[in-house]
């Protein structure tokens, strides 16, 4: 019998070694940097905060008394150029992507602490990032949040000392949980959702009535409403399942049983296409 040639293992081994060492090589090229900028409260009467963040993790929360802001950015200096600028009353934070191919941008992190004393006009725009936005203890006067393919948690754990003039939430393809919206002290809320799994939790201490419009594309929308709150839901759209537990339908509009007698009321105008809407009554502060 003729011997079959023995295949050399050298080439596959070299290829395997190269493959295994490639990520380490890429990481070694990264120029990891961190920058922290903080500022104490001066004469600011309102702080405009604009955050544009395209990668990694975003953590926003309350800072110490007397602090205006503290921003800490961890980023790959080879891939991104940081933007951390302050002009009186206005803070811009973000990263511009320059060269991201072959880099692990998910390692980046932006931590932003905002002070509790100055009212804030907050504008957050972030892309492929995980975000944990905790507005507890902050004085939010306006809130605009736009998020893309990400996992976002918005939390308001205590009543907002300011009247929030507008809340504008734009959510792309994402998992989005907004907890404690009742604490925002907002008269109006606009939600625009693309594709995803969205939870809007309206628990909290309600200081006034709220009117909300919800525009949802494809996906599931869960509305968590505190018992005792008056709820009115007007629903439109195409191929949408609506689980209307605890609601009574009058004409084309759904009402909670206590609608007439409730101290605080939430009016929801929902337009959705292809998906499911679920109303959950939960225990939680209402007023």
């Amino acid at each position: 019998m003729r011997n079959r040639p023995v295949r050399s293992l050298r080439a596959p081994l070299v290829l395997a070694a190269a493959f295994l060492t490639l990520p380490a090589g890429l990481l070694a090229q990264q120029d990891w940097r961190s920058i922290t900028q903080s500022r104490q409260v001066g004469t600011e009467e309102l702080l405009h905060v604009a955050v544009q963040y395209g990668a990694g993790r975003l953590i926003l929360g309350r800072g110490s008394d007397g602090l205006l802001y503290k921003a800490t950015l961890g980023y790959d200096g080879q891939a991104f150029k940081p933007e951390l600028t302050y002009s009186p009353g206005s803070l811009r934070v973000g990263l511009d992507d320059v060269r991201v191919r072959g880099r692990n941008v998910r390692l980046g992190e932006l931590r932003l602490d905002l002070g509790p004393t100055v009212p804030i006009d907050l504008r957050l725009e972030f892309g492929a990032a995980r975000a944990d936005v905790d507005l507890t203890g902050l004085r939010i006067r306006r809130l605009r949040l736009a998020t893309g393919a990400s996992e976002t948690r918005l939390h308001v754990g205590a009543p907002n000392a300011e009247v929030c003039e507008s809340v504008d939430l734009h959510v792309g393809a994402a998992k989005f949980d907004a907890i404690g919206l009742g604490n925002l002290n907002a008269r109006r809320l606009d939600f625009n959702g693309g594709v995803g799994d969205v939870t809007l939790d309206f628990t909290g201490e309600w200081a006034s009535d709220m009117a909300a419009t919800v525009r949802m594309g494809l996906g599931s929308l869960t509305l968590r409403v505190p018992r005792g709150l008056g709820l009115r839901v007007e629903k439109g759209g195409l191929l949408v399942g609506f689980d209307s537990q605890g609601l009574i339908k009058r004409g084309d509009v759904f009402y909670s049983e206590n609608w007439e007698s409730a101290d605080r009321k939430l009016t929801l105008d929902i337009e959705a296409a292809f998906g499911a809407i679920r109303v959950q009554w939960v225990d939680g502060n209402q007023n």
């Binding site: 120029d31 940097r33 961190s34 920058i35 900028q37 104490q40 200096g77 992507d97 893309g148 393919a149």
Partner: protein
């Protein structure tokens, strides 16, 4: 930005002429931040209103902004320690001073602004190196007046004063150093003059669109718009198929689908040949009609109907292939009642067209993640193009082989292997 020469520097400078000369040289440079020791004004109530700390492989720096707008910078970079624009001395990367400095800045990142002055003031430079002591002293000088603790403030002020005294004695303030600096500046001027003749092209960046085009979500919007366009294409193809079936064209579609499934390779080869020959055939037909008297009359009809016929055949072929693909998928997935519920042409078309367009959808989904997955998006796009081209070619071939669905090629019973439902008994 020019600033007045601080009094403290002037006082130190009076102690020795070289020191004054050195300070004057520093001031003559385009110093943005003042030397930190110059800002120490004991007894004046100040606070740090802003701090910026940056740490990277090549640099570790802190910039302090005091009430009233004055700023102080301390840094170690390029193998040296700096206070403002003053080079205090060598501090090699990875050395004892560099490590201690980075450790301090690391801690400073985590403390609140209130605690920052105390942290900076309590820092002790490692070892006995002169550079470390000078950095520590200048830092102390900058923050001493912001400290609430009088004892600590007095200590740091004393450190700063000691540093000033030391500074007046060391080579840092020597005339040689001043001359060396002048030489360096002259060299820089020469370098800049050489650069003067290099042509510089300035391009004005055009408006790149709105927020959706420039923001961090632009990839998402592009991906979503791509998916929407694919969804539109899906809708158009399905609408054409729906209309065809609704108006009695189901058997033609099924015939083309059967032909494509039974004679896939033949259909592909015939379709490829037809796509290559369609233009020559059109030209030859036109010439043939031109050279005959009757043909000239038929020429407009030919010129109009031939492209329409080719277009219809292509569309019918694509729909037929999608139908066949959906049917094939359904045969693998469904059993008994499922099959009865979903074994219809509409379902086959929904799934079949979806399968044919799936690579494009996947490409746009991957694109949403950003440019770093562009390679995979490109591969998926190429797969989509190849699948589409194959479907069009096979479909066109199947339409021709089945004479537009009137003579389908179907499996004969002898082509199908018998299925055995009973276990052999062994009898």
């Amino acid at each position: 930005m020019w600033r007045p020469l601080p009094l403290a520097v002037a006082a130190v400078g009076l102690l020795s002429l070289p020191a004054l000369a050195q300070t004057a040289a520093v001031a003559a440079q385009t110093a943005q931040e003042e030397p930190a020791q110059a800002q120490a004004q004991p007894g004046v109530e100040r606070r740090i209103v802003s701090s910026e700390i940056a740490v990277s492989r090549g640099e570790a720096r802190i910039v302090l902004e005091f009430e009233g707008g004055r700023r102080a910078l301390f840094a170690i970079h390029s193998g040296a320690a700096f206070a403002g624009d003053d080079r205090l001395g060598d501090a090699p990367r990875g050395g004892e001073l560099d490590r201690a400095w980075r450790e301090l800045l690391g801690e400073a990142m985590d403390v609140s602004s209130d605690e920052l002055p105390r942290l900076l003031a309590s820092w002790q430079a490692p070892g006995d190196a002169e550079i470390g002591r000078r950095l520590q002293a200048t830092l102390d000088g900058a923050v001493s007046s912001t400290l609430a603790d009088p004892a600590l403030a007095a200590g740091t002020a004393a450190n700063a004063a000691q540093a000033d005294a030391v500074q007046s004695e060391v080579e840092f303030d020597s005339v040689e150093r001043l001359l060396e600096r002048v030489q360096r500046l002259r060299a820089q001027v020469r370098d800049l003059e050489e650069l003067r003749d290099i042509p510089v092209h300035v391009a004005v960046e055009a408006d790149r669109g709105g927020w959706a085009e420039r923001g961090p979500l632009r990839h998402l919007f592009r991906g979503l718009s791509g998916i929407v366009s694919i969804a539109l294409a899906y809708g158009v193809v399905f609408a054409l198929a729906f209309v065809t079936i609704f108006f009695g064209g189901r058997r033609y579609i099924e015939a083309v689908a059967d032909t494509a499934r039974v004679a896939t390779t033949r259909s592909l080869l015939v379709g490829m040949a037809a796509s290559f020959l369609v233009i020559p055939a059109f030209i030859l037909g036109t010439i043939a009609l031109l050279i005959s008297i009757v043909g000239i009359l038929a020429l407009p009809v030919w010129a109009l109907l031939f492209p329409i016929a080719v277009g219809l055949a292509t569309v019918l072929g694509y729909i037929g292939v999608a139908h066949g693909l959906g049917e094939s998928l359904a045969e693998r997935r469904f059993y008994s009642t499922d099959w009865f519920q979903r074994g219809n042409s509409y379902y086959f078309l929904i799934s079949g067209i979806g399968l044919l367009l799936a690579p494009f959808v996947a490409m746009h989904v991957v694109r949403m993640a950003g440019p770093w997955l562009g390679f995979f998006a490109g591969i998926l796009g190429a797969v989509g193009v190849i699948v589409t081209w194959a479907a069009l070619s096979i479909g066109l071939g199947a339409v021709l082989l089945s004479r537009a669905g009137t003579r389908p090629m179907r499996r004969t019973p002898s082509d199908v292997e018998p299925e055995i439902y009973a276990e052999p008994t062994g009898a």
